[in-house]
Amino acid sequence: MAESYGWAGKILRVNLTTGEITTQDDEKYHKYIGGMGMAYRIMYEEAPMELDPYDEKALVIFGVGPLTGAGVPCSGRMNVTFRSTWSKGHSIIDAHMGGHIGSMLKYAGYDGIVVSGISEKPVYLRIEDGNVSLEDASEIWGKGTFAANKWMVEQNGREFETASIGPAGENLVDYSTLNTSFGNSGGAGLGAAMGNKKLKGLAIRGTGSVKVADPKKVLELSNYMMGNLIGGNNNHNVPAQPQSWAEYSATSGKNRWSGAPGRMWKKAPGGPVDTGEQPYNDINKVALRCFKGYFDFGAPAAEYTVKNGGCSSCPIRCYTEYDVDPLADYDLPTHNSNTCMPVLYGTRVYPDGVHDFKYEGDGTMVINLAWSHAVDDMGLWDNYGNLNRDLLWILRMPREEATKYISEAEYDSLPWEWEKAGDPRWEVELIRRMAYGEGDLSVIAKGTLAMMEKFGLPKSWLDRDDGATNSNLIYNGFPNHHGPAEAWQVGMLYNLVYNRDCMIHEIVCETGSGAPYEVTKKVMEDFFGEGCYDKAKAYTPINENKAKLAAYCVNDKNFHDSATLCNWMWPMTQSPSKERDYHGDLDLQADFMTAVTGETYTQAGLQEDGARITQMLRAMTAISFQQNCGSANLRQEHDAICDWVFDKDPDFKAFEEGTTKLDRADMEKAKDLFYDVFGWDRTTGVPTRETLEKYDLADMADDLEKRGIYAQNTAAAE
């Protein structure tokens, strides 16, 4: 194996059927960067889309990249590629997780783990540098993720980082996750993909290192980033409240630079810690900037916060670590840590509302933290809130209506008195039923599309204008993720590309910041061209720069999940620095790639690398759709947009000041421009042969040809 910087240089291959464990030199995958890109190539070559996602030959590919564990700020991510069982087309899909396990995999000496086969009995994968083994997991099969992770650490030693699936994954519940006990999780059905293989979890210890071509440069760039470029979480570049060094703040008082004078971690063991002011150029206060709990819940969060937490290498601590003591009254665990969806949507399953527990206004928070602990323990995913929205849809119905979908016996078996009382045990019981697949209701955790099929709901159910129970932008079974409401046509376009919610934050990082529009517009237009950046709820028709920006977002995100970098923080588009006129540095990620790997990278080159991954995704999606939906016309089958996107806000016309609704004809034009940028056929949205060859993917073009997908393009055009 050649000595290489950044990359560990090899991947692990684990066959659960035979128990065979081997390593492979991975240099041939370096042009796909790592993580997602590497996994897509491996999946294409070795596990064709014809395979059933639960086939013995189906792969689960854990991937990290050259920047993971290399000291680059916000690089503690791991990508996991497998096959969707629940979204339309059952195509290629990723889970993305943070924490400390990705960098540990690198320190153990691996850029990835390709898992194939199905074990006879439950096992977990134990990696200690070069010693890799499958260990009996029968002790923890059936256990929640917290108990399983604790057991694996106790068995193997405190220096092991672990992650485990829960009962949801073991029971092949489509909405399932892999979890660490700090609350880091990879969703998208990863739990079931592993559960099908009888793979309970991972335990990894690495005593090695990531070799870095220019360590001094990595330190310099890190300090440059932390002293000049980085903001709060989502790289928000102004604080949520006025701070004496800052010209601007979020007028709403709400953004993710939410640490501020008087906002405290009140449950710190040694008494309240005030997050105070955090001048943008003070490296030693960066970790106090994000107070995610305060952003999510306001003042009650402070009452229950122990400290901030987050992932390896990241100075922005977007997890809040809580001790929610009122939960003890319900015999529920009180210490939990999370960020994002698990702590945001629990109250959705209480149609009658929630009440305060200990402090004014703390009801939402206490209920959501109980939800978070329960879903993490069960290893249950929420599909970016669709689980909660779909549950609300039925739970808020009168009994006679709800029992059209679930049996009367099941309806009456639900502990409704807990729902009425706002008791956290209500949600815990719902989550248990979902995770064990109990009753008709649990079809909701098999996916929105599975639920619609079982309940006999027409496709138009997804066209309803009801944000509380419908956030699906397209008809493929997953919801809006920072789409048109935050990023106009650009947000709609990048929501079209994946086989799950898009997980793209390139635009919401700007629009959610709270900096003055003109300030951010200048930054965005200087980087991405005139007319690319619309004002909040005052949209303009599509133009070429917007289409280019949408494509940039997709490619950039793909690079992040390959390198790996956190897409909530990267790229460094904005800066809190007045002296920089609030401009970040888009080249920084390429500079880090160069410093870490010793090979020369440019931002333009990384866009090409990201685009190569986009093309692989699109080609494999076309193949899946041909297999499973009978047509590879992605424009029709994959990229069709739900009616509510165009019909909401009936008092407003599209492009009028005050609405985020889009226009149908404009959006079709937007797709044309977007497909043009990517080199996709305008009629079918499939990458042309010329395009695939340009990205050195001629074998995929040959494949599409052989499968008749190009012939289908021609037919569709006629």
């Binding site: 690495g206 990595v218 063991p269 040694g270 810690v273 840590s337």
Partner: protein
């Protein structure tokens, strides 16, 4: 106490040398000293605060501020080893996140526990690591710091075993032991201020001020 005990930076440092590496629990701090250390008396009482007397200043570790990001380990190894690693870092946080061996760490109880903080070499007066080294490879350098002479080190691990906190670590890739050389890289890059170094002039001034108040 007498004002003369803290008259110069050098004298102050020698005073703090007496408790280097130990928690301040059980002691009362003046308001100015608390302000200087960026901590509260309650944090001191709870055992969250420990100090190390280094030549360039007083290293203060505040456990309540540690958010477990591992940037101390990253900065340590990039600076001293030219690679990025956790295991060989001279400041230790990863191995203390899950279980720290002293009843803390995420998995230490039946429910999650969010008490975790970094630990590092105490630069002992009577160093167990150095005494145990069969090669006498751990010596005091011209900066006054105990360092590993990599020419002499045979990577036997005696230093790691002898240290009560197992701070020296044999690098499996080089076969040489690594231990803290008080370079300050971990502190300078700590994004939460859980690690800080207070310069001796400031500690001396605060001590003088405290004297005036008495």
């Amino acid at each position: 106490m007498a004002k003369t005990d803290f008259l110069t930076a050098d004298m102050t440092r020698r005073q703090f040398m007496k408790i280097s590496g130990k928690s301040l629990a059980g002691l009362t701090l003046s308001a100015s000293m608390l302000s200087l250390f960026g901590c509260s008396q309650q944090q001191v009482d709870s055992g969250a605060v420990a100090t190390w007397a280094l030549p360039q200043g007083l290293l203060v570790v505040n456990a309540d501020l540690c958010t477990g990001c591992q940037r101390c380990e990253i900065n340590c190894t990039l600076t001293n080893d030219g690679v990025c690693s956790s295991y060989i870092s001279r400041v230790k946080i990863q191995r203390r996140l899950n279980l720290d061996g002293a009843g803390n760490g995420l998995l230490s109880g039946t429910d999650n526990c969010f008490v975790y903080f970094p630990d590092t070499c105490r630069q002992c007066e009577d160093p167990a690591c150095g005494n145990a080294c069969p090669q006498k490879a751990i010596t005091t350098d011209d900066r006054g710091i105990r360092v590993v002479d990599t020419d002499k080190c045979i990577g036997c691990g005696a230093c790691h075993d002898a240290c009560p906190w197992h701070m020296p670590t044999v690098n499996p890739e080089t076969g040489k032991s690594s231990k803290c050389i008080a370079c300050g890289a971990c502190v300078a890059g700590c994004p939460s201020g859980a690690l800080s170094i207070v310069d001796w002039d400031a500690v001396t001034s605060a001590a003088q001020a405290a004297y005036l108040d008495l």
